[in-house]
């Protein structure tokens, strides 16, 4: 029914080998290093080792899209061709960073590719592409429903040659991470503009600019996602030079729009891998665990749940691929129906699948001994990330009703 390009197939094979050779065998070491870390948000030695290896193998910056192919060795991949690669990385929650393919850096790098000046690119995009620094995208605010990007309230005022920022952000991924050097901050520069979509501006704020305070790391379902983490930030009279504006004053909403659709898809691609690996763990468990004198694998209810999970993962995977394909062919804006369908379906479905797989593992299924608990948390917060599902369902529902009621 469909086929990936030769380039994608070749990279898939390389990646699968890399996972077998370097990622799975290091899961325990990664956990131990993190567990023993004095600062949970410092870089881990294992990560740096693995990044080197991934670079050597040409498994680097796989996310780079076709139209920016020159930023990567492989020359760029379509959404469709990237999907199976991201799926494979999703099998180990921390592995995308190994390939410089982790959120939010991928999305941020794309923002730089699309909207930054040459000077901005040289300063920030180059080290990001090299994996030397990390970045944050500061959009969500605790006080307002940030799923509607026009709601952001952080104030960005121009004063002479500077921008002055005041406000509060939270769920700023990477902000805790020691390696992170730059924040892309969305705020309101022109709150009285008649057009709600021209009131916002995005500026670049180096992490250690005076007035930037990291209030605290945030957890979701008990996970701090260290070392990447999610932070609450306060900006108090933070001053950056005028040239730190991205794309231009009043283009903040436009940048946000262009960034979020693809970001949602990347999460969904990875979540397929998270679910798939959970299913495989459950199958192994079913064959190795005996209760009441029969292996779990012979219990009809276990078989039904495995069967159901297999089918659901397959459907979710196909939905992701079809959406990717539509984006490749028609662009993000024409694909918002399918992006919304995917974003509101895949995380919930993956959460459900993992819930079942954990249950088959007994009490141990909820611990860190498997990747499932963290995967469950990943799926769960994706139902909130980039806007709660309900907001996207509102828009999609409206669009579908219009389509068929004319």
């Amino acid at each position: 029914m469909y086929q990936f390009s030769e380039k994608s197939q070749r990279l898939q094979n390389e990646l699968l080998k890399f996972m077998d050779e370097f990622i799975y065998p290091n899961e325990k070491r990664y956990a131990t290093e993190l567990h023993n870390a004095e600062n949970r948000f410092a870089p881990l030695a294992i990560m740096d080792e693995l990044k080197l290896k991934a670079k050597e193998r040409g498994l680097w910056n796989l996310f780079v899209p076709e139209d920016h192919g020159h930023y990567s060795e492989h020359g760029g991949l379509s959404f469709f061709d990237y999907a199976p690669l991201a799926e494979t990385m999703g099998r180990v929650i921390w592995s995308p960073e190994v390939f410089n393919c982790n959120a939010p850096d991928t999305g941020n790098m794309e923002v730089f590719m699309n909207f930054a000046t040459d000077a901005q690119k040289e300063k920030w995009l180059t080290p990001l592409l090299n994996g030397e620094i990390r970045s944050s995208y500061a959009m969500t605010e605790p006080q307002v429903a940030s799923s509607d990007a026009t709601n952001v309230e952080l104030s960005i005022k121009r004063e002479g040659d500077e921008w002055v920022l005041n406000g509060r952000k939270w769920f700023i991924t990477n902000a805790m991470y020691e390696r992170t050097k730059i924040f892309i901050v969305m705020g309101k520069s022109d709150p009285d503009n008649a057009s709600r979509h021209l009131q916002q501006t995005q500026v670049l704020v180096p992490k250690h600019t005076p007035g930037v305070t990291i209030v605290r790391p945030l957890t979701t379902l008990g996970f701090d996602d260290a070392p990447i983490g999610h932070a609450e930030l306060v900006f108090e009279n933070v001053r950056v030079p005028y040239e730190n504006v991205l794309a231009g004053e009043g283009r903040g909403f436009e940048i946000a729009q262009s960034r979020l659709g693809p970001g949602r898809m990347h999460h969904c691609m990875r979540l397929i891998g998270t679910a798939q690996r959970s299913l495989e763990l459950a199958c192994k468990r079913a064959n190795s665990r005996t209760t009441f004198g029969r292996p779990l694998s012979k219990h009809q209810s276990v078989r039904e749940e495995i069967s159901r999970s297999f089918s659901e993962i397959e459907m979710a995977r196909l939905l992701v691929l079809k959406t990717c394909s539509k984006i490749d062919e028609q662009g993000v804006m024409a694909s918002i129906d399918m992006i919304a369908a995917t974003k509101t379906t895949v995380p919930l479905l993956v959460q459900t699948v993992i819930d079942r797989c954990m249950q088959m593992h007994g009490a141990g299924g909820l611990t860190e001994d498997y990747m499932m608990a963290e995967g469950f948390n990943y799926a769960r917060w994706c139902r909130q990330a980039d806007g709660p599902d309900q907001v996207h369902q509102m828009a999609l529902g409206k669009q579908i009703i219009d389509r068929y009621s004319k």
Copy 2:
């Protein structure tokens, strides 16, 4: 991501036009004719009219597969290419017969194509392909779990030049229909054969053979599916000539296996259309009905359910297509995993979607004023047809566990 052949695309366009021109405008007339029929299982005038028109337009025997292309004007279609056509027919429950594409005749015709002698073909397949007669496939028995085809108990004994049949069958679709002339009957000819898969034989039994009694029409959720219907049958010392055997003694199980997978897929293809049309009806309703001062379309819960239904239908459609594509490429036997995944997922999902769509229509949603109630019933009994979902989940679960626990 995928594309249908030009032939399929051309037929899709023709079919859509035909639906608009002849099917939807006649739904009311069809209902009235059936309602006023003295015998609910007699052919309807409207059906015969429409069949003529479909033939004229070349929309006839669309189900014929590529490897039997010479049986149709269009030269045969792959599973994948047929899927969107069957989906479209599924939008009106009774419409497949218009195109000579209704179950169980399609499956029966394929059995004839694959296993019948030339004489058998001439006598039965030719009029079936012409839509002059209809046929039944008598497999399910009330006393045994017939999802395991080896369980059938109807006795088929050879006595000289004849087969003698004794037993009871039910859910024999088409058997009530006046136009039906021939039953393909599965039974046990060699119950002591060491191989459970060689005990069965299938023989051709003309409907009016002495000893065949139609006990009663059966209903599912109150529907009798007239004029096609589902019957309970008794065979008492029913005698047919030896040459009425299909393929040969002991090959009954093999025939059943070859027939059921594709049959399940045809149901699923059509069900996608049934769900899709229900969704479209719900969208129209949402835009036209006002409650508590707002159109339904502005209620957030309505939008969420429309959004959810759209996404689920899309996933189900993709699963059907992928399975079709796998069958085309690797054959039925290699595709039993995907067939099982589809068979156990699509009907339940379609039932759920239609349940929501009916609910948006208020009390009227449950009546015959819409196709939804009948569509709901169709989806519901497909969860039992060709074996309850649980049986297929048992097999699929086992297969998946094996695949990943090695």
Copy 3:
């Protein structure tokens, strides 16, 4: 935790005996009589026989509430005490009529008790209590969301000593039934009244009044619920004398309010019995049916579903009982939260339970061979009856949010 009154317990025992002795053994006969009936909406001989027996045993008009105790031999029962009796009757869909306890007559009789003049009572209530005639409550209209009673559009105009009715109603239960003699019709007599709740009036319209047309019987999921049935009606210049007004002009909304809460509870009480019997059938099936060499009862998935169904029925039953108890203690108006909770929970849950139980029965589970298919339909349409669940959830949700957000 709770105990029924001695009176209720005594009647429960009598009723259980009656079910064993007269109802279950006559289910087949009832089905046959209905099946063979020339007119599906004529009274059945079996029903009249059983009604006589029920009267003899004092199992008559069990629904009569305490505050109208003199209308029954047993002196009236609280909601709480009536609940287990209605549950038992719910085990056989048609059995409530045997005890003169079927909808909508019970609700209509209560309307007469509460709002009718002595003359009206003599003429209509007395034969209703005797089971000699049946009645309809004509409220729902196809054009408007009738769950909001203020929306009804049927026009009731006073002209001299008469009321003149014009409009359309549907889902008018009992209207098809030959034994039905009287309709209580809700309409708008004063559409310009500033208070939306004083615009409505209810008048008594004998079934055979000129201008009343029964357009057609309606079905839900294929069931016509004969002989009681649900009809679509047209009123064209229907004239009735002024004294046929119920309670007084402008009191239509008030009457509707008082009637609907208890009606919903009666449905829920009965549905518990419908679910419970389905569960019992499933248990019997699980023990008697063998698939793949093991009785269904040994399949873990069957046990899980039986366990789940048992728990859900128990919870639903408790919810019904608590709501009944609250109505008894605090009245209907103070209990609308619990009534809404019950009305929006029990039918859906019962539908789900029966769906599972049908599935365990194989294809036969969907036929008329069991009471499950009809019970499924009963549960399904109760999600629409007296207003779709969503309307009640809207009101309950609002009330709960208010309660806890102050």
Copy 4:
């Protein structure tokens, strides 16, 4: 429908006041103390303060059952009377310890009451009742399905006047807690006994006995449940005196049976409170948060989910109460059907309710800013605690099938 005893009602009022006065206002302080703790498993100052206050108010050892009333100031409470108290404590995950009512100490104290010698009681029960020490119940093992208590493998061998223990346990709640002094350890002393239920023995092992190693704290969904915690333990040639046996050799299974049913009920009681508080938080949120120009409370989908959650909590509460009442009247053994129904229904339902409530809170709903994330985790692991739900459904399903298929 039901009424709590005057004693229970009085204690409920006192407890509600205490919650308002001391618990809710200290939630933040508790979180801060724990967050800043050098050792997360050390006692917190705030806890000790609050325990003193609870004792003063007579809100101490509320769990003590009627038949052991002399162990408490209040004289003991039935299960039914204790349920609303435990529900209230469940509103703040850590609050039960304030009232000396936290798991597993309550269950352990009951084991001492029922099975310990006077000397054992003096040494361990008295300080436990005083809240001076804490205890663990070491039953679950990683290698075997411990839901079937006969599976435990830890070896308890008698050597002269001593017992020698060897084996591994996990999910041993409280074991990490510094205040914990005593472990009740279940193991196999007579693996060859013909009766599978006489092979087990329970012995008392002081925490700091040589050979006992705390391997690591375990997390569930990222939560370590500090300071109480769940640990993995190794026993290597651990020696305790013969008199440390509980009840007598071979009575381990019996003790486990008596302990687990009530423990499950206590969890369910508390979970009702956890869900109820989450619902109340969601209501407050719905009224205070505005999205797309309307408060959440006006979105139909929000109202539906609040309505659904209210109804489900009410049903779960009633199920808990009915089960408690049955235990009070007929004992634990006669109530295993209802205990299983409750244990397999309430945690899953509570998980679902909290999932919805978190979702209404946007991204913040998943953080530690609310009690919901921890409550979600509590509900989730209760689906595994004391045996995965599936094991109890297996037993309950079997029992119900037997009941109705005879």
